[in-house]
Assembly symmetry: C2
Homo-oligomer: 422 residues x 2
């Protein structure tokens, strides 16, 4: 029924920061991010919902049926990767706004009154492309990251999170709503649902992830006038590390582990100078912590061999270790109940990527749903889900949020980490 | 006799833009480059020598004995690589200033009057670290590069050569002196002289050099949520290219060829995004054009195999091809004669690196001398020649310039390229 109004809004927001190849470029706290935030605020204002902005730039649009009651939070993030897709994050926020609109209507029609109030949330900087680490706003909300430290994080130009938020007028002072539960819908970022022709995924657990900060320290010299034997070329050694990080995955079962280097800088980066230093970040994720730890051990050994062969130093530091998070059993059952009532297919599914829901699941019971993503691509301009797939997801999110508003997850969370850090 | 005044000046200039590890950071048209330029201008002003600055920022300090006569140019460059050495370039300019000081004195004592006037030159942007290509000022002077195009070249921040020169007040309007011959002294940037215990090198020819501009175009995707089989990772392919560029040299005789990648950028360069595009520059140099062409052919074949294996596109373009330049036979004889008169050792030697003298050799007869460099390192903070080695070089340059001022190279140049471009 309301599918068309949702789709109109979705495609309108997809035009903000749109790229010629069909994606969007709306990194956190940029002018384009501000435009989507203004749109979010206007959507709420049109309906008389007050909007709060907290001190790390998270936005909350509030619907209060019972003054003083806690809130079910529903949302995702409007920021994107540089040249990212138009679905990742934005779909979940716009779906949440429309779900809230329907729920406000439904609650007003005298159905059993919700136990909780509702807040639609747009989390700050889920992507982490401009300001690392990712999942920043929800992690600060959940107490997993220190707010002051995050406000001091800088982008490549040296701009801090604090200044960037001030520049777009979205570093607020409002109190945060107290959360009772959390729900989020997102495109799958994988091709399991598409391959099996299933409309909805009930996310049961996140993958184990960790990053390696790798610094290769060689010696600067003249590219044209230093004999090959006299060189300690940081880029040649770093390139071997990149290939090792990629190739280590071939020693595990297919689709059980992923690994890559997405960030690399070299100094001095002059065409006629042998590089003295390369800094790179490797990202390793697997369904099991054991796979990550095994890959890490293999890499450390092989990287030290590269350092030895090239007579240079390679420093490797673990960071951003994110243990497996298990979503509450009851939240899976809620998603399955909703799917049955809508007559659509559902299956339990892992999330390989991190999400705001994974952070929120640490402090309240959380529910996460996936819709199919064509070709399973993400962080990519050709990311795509169909209008029909999206509309089904909005229906499912609406129904699930209704359950949460009535306390369906009470006493079912937060889940504890399935395991500690290594 | 004057060695101490030269050394005092040399070590004074080495303090401008000095780095903690003993090098200098004085990239072209920076505040530090301005400081060395101001020092050069003050040296000339103290002696009453007029200074001209041309439209590409080259500086000329003039000593005119015969109004209207052409000039013997003697000099090098005061700019450095980022975290470069304090000898590369600066030694040649300061040696030339002190040689000029001695020659002015000698010419004033009634010895046979010079046929030509003398100009000490500080060439703009020999290094090319901030603004590519390198050897810019002398190449514009020699008509090998287009001045308007060079003024439009930008650094990584988008600043043009024109604006950078204006910002330091060194984009001049003065006419260029007409050159009759050119002399330059430089540290070897190799370890041949050191290994053989010889004080002076008479540079006979330059190496054949060329660059390859390499663009790897893959597809952006989510590092954490894209199966390894679905990725087209531009950085993994680029890393294999970097290793190929390095390893191809092992198929040739030792010390006959060098090759490296000094410049590499990736997009979007986010820790959690598989890179979509990598741009890199490979630099290949050899004593013989045949070696470079053979290495290039091997690389093109191997790079196309990498592109095929990773299902992505790699575009390779040749640029900055610099054929072998032969210095005039007579200029080698002049250097050998000077060495004999000073009682020091001399040998003929190739230059692997490009120099302002190589550009000048295209339009006038040029003479290039090397002094030993400890460990043969260059473009590096630990670059080192001893005070004694430097002082001998100043004596040799003074004596050689005296020969050129009396027409010793007349009719002996310019040399033609030993071969054409491939």
């Amino acid at each position: 029924m309301d599918a068309q109004t949702f789709l109109t809004d979705f495609h309108h927001v997809a035009a903000i920061g749109a790229t010629p190849a069909g994606g969007v470029d709306r990194q956190a706290a940029t002018a384009e991010d501000k435009q989507t935030r203004d749109w979010f605020a206007a959507f709420a204002a049109d309906r008389g919902w007050p909007v709060r902005v907290d001190t790390i730039g998270n936005m909350f649009a509030l619907i209060e049926w019972t003054p003083g009651a806690d809130f079910v939070l529903v949302g995702s993030h409007l920021d994107s990767q540089p040249l990212g897709g138009r679905f990742d994050g934005a779909y979940g926020v716009i779906a949440a706004l429309h779900a809230a609109d329907r729920l406000a209507d439904r609650a007003g029609r005298g159905e059993p009154a919700p136990r909780y109030n509702l807040a639609v949330v747009n989390w700050f900087n889920e992507e982490g492309g401009r300001f690392a680490p990712s999942i920043m706003g929800s992690s600060v909300f959940a107490g997993l990251m220190d707010e002051e430290a995050m406000l001091r994080v800088t982008d490549l130009d040296g701009t801090t999170v604090r200044d960037a938020l001030d520049a777009i007028g979205y570093r607020g002072t409002d109190p945060r709503p107290t959360a009772a539960a959390y729900a989020e819908i997102h495109i799958e970022q994988g091709r399991v649902l598409e391959r099996e022709g299933i409309e909805l995924g009930a996310v049961d657990r996140s993958w184990y992830t960790q990053k390696l900060d790798i610094e290769v320290v060689g010696e600067q010299s003249h590219t044209g006038a230093t004999a090959m034997a006299d060189r300690r070329d940081a880029l040649v050694a770093a390139s071997k590390v990149v290939v090792l990080v990629h190739d280590v995955t071939t020693e595990f079962e297919p689709e059980s582990i992923v690994s890559s280097v997405g960030h690399l800088t070299l100094e001095p980066n002059s065409p006629i100078v042998v590089p003295r230093r390369v800094h790179l970040v490797a990202d390793i994720r697997a369904s099991s912590p054991a796979f990550v730890q095994q890959a890490r051990a293999l890499l450390l050994e092989r990287i030290s061999r590269v350092a030895h062969d090239h007579s240079l130093t390679i420093n490797v530091t673990d960071f951003d270790v994110r243990p497996v998070q298990t979503f509450p059993q009851r939240s899976l059952e809620v998603t399955e109940k909703v799917a049955a009532s809508l007559g659509i297919g559902v299956r339990r599914i892992n999330t390989m990527a991190g999400h705001d829901s994974v952070a929120m699941n640490r402090i309240v019971p959380a529910l996460m749903m996936f819709i199919p993503s064509i070709d399973g691509v993400s962080h990519c301009e050709r990311e795509l889900s169909s209008d029909e797939q999206m509309a089904i997801g909005v229906d499912a999110l609406t129904a699930a949020a209704w359950e949460l508003l009535h306390g369906e997850l009470d006493g079912h969370g937060p889940a504890k980490a399935a395991d500690g850090t290594p």
